[in-house]
Amino acid sequence: MSVAVARFRGALARPWVGGTVGIALLLALWWAMTAGLENSTSFPSPVDVARSAVADGWGFYEANVVPTLTRAAQGYLWGNLAGLALAAVVLVVPRLEDVITQLGVISACLPVTAIGPIVMVIFGGRASAIFLGALLVFFTTLVGAILGMRSASRSSLDLVAAYGGGRWTQIRKVQLMSALPAIVTALQVAVPAALLGAVVGEYLGGIDSGIGVALNAAQRQIQPDRVWALSILAGLIALGGYALVGLVGRVLTPWAKEKRG
């Protein structure tokens, strides 16, 4: 008996098994909570949501997911480029680190909901979705890259210097190598952030298709099934992107394996 219990606990400790159990429990809880509410206008059951997703069909989702993904991808690209560029400046001129980090903090303290309407008024709807994605991505990538460069061990840097390597060799052989795993993590975190920015931008209006637009419409037409289906889909996309970037990063930075454990 106790062997079975121990084995059961051992199985739960594996990430996949534990995660599946957790999600199954969440679904069961959701089902149980909604079982009492027949035809609730706010809190549909998982079955209703699945049924609505099937009824809407792929055409509906494709029309809204593709534009959002395009905007999120552009925001992701620009935000990360800006973050990495400023991190590169810090790498070359370390004295600027404090000021540049502080600038990043300022950018993180600008709430998207405050900047969104302003950007929207100035640049229009499409650009604001991209801009907000970029803004949300910028800080995490900047800080992740700088932290990664700083994690280069002093002794490795000294070793390069002792063998006659210059500052450029130090940067190339030591600091970039140690920064890449941290950058990969930052790029992972940036995926949901870019999506959030794009959806907020779409929510502000001025655009005719996208997840944010569809959500807004579904809410106004009181279609909770569709609201929930779109929400879950957005979450799955974010999670999928997060996992994909992690996978690609792991392949590209094999030396980081022992660090991640």
């Binding site: 100035i122 609201v227 879950i232």
Partner: protein, 263 residues
């Protein structure tokens, strides 16, 4: 010692000042480069005028501060509750890793649903009001803090743990004597990082659900072409967030220095 602390704080404030000046420069430069009409794109001096020198500046200030108070309350309640809950759950997970394996992946899924998407769902469940806003802020603050604090609790070295166990301490003693002190830096870092997210969460909730506070004020101003009020609200909330972040990050560094000296 206090001289060193004073100098450290002064240097931090100096860096902040330089960065603020650069940010103001970027603000003006972007508006000029894209040739944005001054009717829409307000410059720093326009905002200053709106809040300080305009005829009805006192009235503007009163409105802004009243909205700010609501936003600070909205963000503050969720911030405190979210951090406390994250800390408590991190301790529980530290004692029971199996529970962590079950809850964490689910939490990750929930976290990766964009906040704007989640807000209507939470509003549907909790209704429009303080409970809904607080729930949203808690959600934003809670998960990153939980992951961070847990990481800190786990960073205990094997030798320290073994030492306590060898002298007859229980795993509870390990937690109290070794793990909790080890988690202080990551807890402080979480408290710092959570400030901007709590404000963002509160602003999104106010925008999409209650319509109160600075979040509500900005969307109302945007809808009625009140661009002065919109810019002033945005700058105010960014400034207050920055101030809170700066204070926490100074406290963070000072406490860590203190711990470093003690050990």
């Amino acid at each position: 010692m206090s001289g060193g602390t004073g100098r450290f704080v002064a240097r931090r404030v100096g860096t902040l000042a330089v960065a603020v000046v650069v940010a103001l420069g970027v603000w003006v430069a972007v508006l000029e480069v894209f040739d944005v009409s001054p009717l829409i794109g307000k410059r720093p001096w326009d905002v200053f005028g709106y809040v300080v020198t305009a005829d009805d500046a006192a009235e503007h200030r009163a409105t802004l501060l009243a909205d700010l108070a609501v936003t600070v309350r909205d963000a503050g309640i969720g911030y405190v509750v979210g951090l406390a809950a994250a800390f408590a759950l991190a301790v529980v997970f530290c004692v029971s890793p199996v529970l962590e394996r079950i809850v964490m992946p689910t939490a990750m899924v929930l976290r990766s649903i964009p906040l704007v998407v989640l807000t209507p769902l939470i509003t549907l469940i909790f209704g429009i009001g303080q409970a809904g806003v607080t729930a949203i802020v808690i959600l934003v603050v809670f998960l990153p803090a939980l992951a961070n604090i847990l990481y800190g609790l786990r960073s205990v070295s094997g030798e320290h743990r073994d030492l306590v166990l060898a002298y007859g301490g229980s795993s509870w003693t390990v937690l109290r004597k070794v793990a909790l002190p080890a988690a202080v830096p990551s807890t402080l870092a979480s408290a710092r990082i959570a400030v901007p997210s709590a404000v963002t969460g509160a602003m999104i909730a106010e925008w999409l659900s209650t319509g109160e506070g600075l979040g509500g004020a900005i969307s109302k101003a945007a809808g009625s072409f009140g661009y002065d009020a919109m810019w002033a609200s945005a700058i105010l909330v960014a400034a207050v967030t920055m101030l809170a972040y700066a204070v926490l990050s100074i406290v963070d560094t000072l406490v860590q220095e203190r711990i470093g000296q003690l050990s």
